[in-house]
Symmetry: none
Subunit: 213 residues, 4 copies
DNA sequence: TATGAATGAGTTTTCATTCAT
DNA sequence: TATGAATGAAAACTCATTCAT
């Protein structure tokens, strides 16, 4: 059914997509108004439903579009990723932040949606997220250099520990950022990273070979 | 104004509270229908608003009720908490799981609400959450025995690493639990805990003194 | 049915009446809230309806009470009323203003009600107003000295012309007063009266004998 | 937003307008029920709000429509207005009565609204009324022939006296008409006008040159 | 006599979706 | 293909009145 939409002129498509992203990001799925969308997109009510069938399908299309768009940023620089485990993960964390700052609206849409899926979209959204992971996780987590890990440590588990920690840690700062402002976070970035490395030192001690040997 | 509600017969009160928790947990604040609530609670439209004034105040009451109810589970067993850092945190994680399994609906309500506060309730909810932390965090995180931490590790950061990791790790399993069923998690609990301890071993290595010395 | 109310202690009665007048004057019959009344009167909801039967009957009682109260001000000074037609009417106009300033809330209630009767009270209210006129009009309009009227003028009609004019003229100033404030009117009273007498001069010319003959 | 409504087929528009006027005239702004309106207009709930946005905007539209409609009756015959002051005012009084009898419901709506403006509409309504006066008053009160006024009478005040009197006098008869029926007034019109002219004779005596000079 | 909790029909407004054109 | 007017169920909330106590 979307093929009708896909065969639209590119600029018209883009205008519609942008209007949807803005509306969904600002208000969430439930409170988003299809009226606002058609108004900002400059199309008729009927057209929107002709293209997408329902608000639900529209949202899924937009969500998928946004994920793919954001993932392209990751894909584009994938050859620059460091090999060392902790450096790799840190690199991705910084990348995540950069993408967030470059596409704040889309990012908000993704984050808000994932952390709080509307019940009626749950199944489809989780499928998409799973699919996204299946596509990009191997790339992001592949070929990690764990040769510096100390003897006896399970490498997969070690990587996951780091990963879980970093996620949790950044999550804390993003929460604060939401309350304050993203700019405040950026200005404080040096301090945040200093702190961050101190935490990592402790983690490293448990996972890496002692450096001086 | 709630005193009218408070002086209701206990079973009537409970029926209303249960109906509210169920509706709010299932649909969130926005989509929750006061119509559905009064129907399930077996009271009239007017009664609900006579008791609580507005949907907003109703929700805040129910949220507060749920937090206090859940926190009682923690308070009841507070004297049994282990002193050692990792054991303490693990103990609380298990406790958290138990409470989650005992009160899944209430727990869902709390978690969903905290991770995604409706804008118009934000201020009040954050106050409540802050108050709750102020009351219970000292109890939960107080008197932690960190004498086994190795020389040179910053103790506050070390505790936080453990805490962040455990949160992230359990979060993963809770997500799975939501998809499958809580029973599936329980049945698999032994395996999960085995896994869990293996992760902790790695963390411990970086934080604790080497045990055999 | 009102005898229950009438046999209440005077201060309790008064408190109830005052609360009603305030509420009805402030919001009109429709928007007046019986809840607000019982709250301010310090009585129970049931009591109000026990005393008065319905909101409608309550209002009629209060309206009647107010009219009688206001009319007492007129009755008290009835012996001081001038005899001459124009002076009499002017005197009453001033009296009306004084009463208005002494009992602004009650007056507002009466004026608002009379100029815009709620349909379901129309019949009863008009009866009351008619009754009031029957009682007080003869007093106010009786024994008017029309000996100064010029030959050939119908005396009843002449009095009515003056009366209609004064009513219309004061109405104009009351309208302005409502928009500005009563104080503004009072402060401007001298000017207003100067104007007023100039108008009256013209009227007088048509009705009275020429003074200098 | 009203352009949607304006482009409706004339008969449908009229049916909606009529339903609104009837409901608002019968019950006033506050008590008027949009439910009743849509039922009598034979349209859906949504349609009404699609056309007008809100009850408030609907009322303002209807009020404005009614004023313009009534004013057209005046405008149509404006070239027939007599020049002499009293005759002009009398002529307009008769015209007013005719219009009132031709459009009793609309007239009731206008009169009721103007004499008792709902607080939340006050500003907008007063603007409309002011605008109406600005448009029609010059036409109605312009070019009045006051050359017959006697020496020494202030002409502006004299005209206003007549105007105030006529307003007050007709007001009396309209009040009666509301209680009885408009037909009763019409049947009695000759007597009423006879009376009226007798009153005017007295007024004239004070304002006009004596006729026999 | 007096209470006040409880009722439920009523209010205005919203909005995804449809369908005749 | 595209339009946008029309739908109507649903939303939160109010309030005069009743009635068991």
């Amino acid at each position: 059914m979307n093929q009708v939409f896909e065969s639209l002129p590119q600029d018209k498509k883009q205008k519609i997509i942008d209007a949807c992203i803005a509306e969904f990001a600002a208000n969430g799925y439930d409170r988003a108004s299809t009226n606002a969308i058609v108004q900002n997109a400059g199309i008729s009510k009927g057209a929107l439903f002709y293209y997408f069938g329902s608000k639900k399908d529209l949202f899924l299309y937009i969500f998928n579009y946004s994920i793919e768009k954001l993932m392209k940023y990751y894909y584009k620089v994938k050859d620059m990723q460091p090999a060392d485990a902790i450096e790799r993960l840190t690199w991705y964390t910084k990348l995540k932040l950069k993408v967030f700052l470059k596409e704040p609206v889309m990012s908000k849409l993704i984050v808000d949606t994932v952390t709080n899926m509307p019940e009626e979209l749950r199944v489809e959204l989780e499928d998409m997220v799973r699919g996204m992971y299946a596509t990009y996780l191997p790339m992001m987590m592949g070929n990690i250099d764990d040769s510096n890990f100390r003897e006896g440590v399970d490498k997969k588990r070690a990587v996951e520990i780091i990963s879980i920690f970093i996620d949790g840690y950044t999550e804390k700062y993003l929460k604060a950022a939401r309350k304050l402002s993203y700019e405040a976070v950026i200005n404080d970035l040096d301090n945040i990273m200093d702190e961050y490395y101190k935490y990592l030192e402790i983690l490293k001690y448990g996972i890496y070979k002692s450096p001086q040997t």
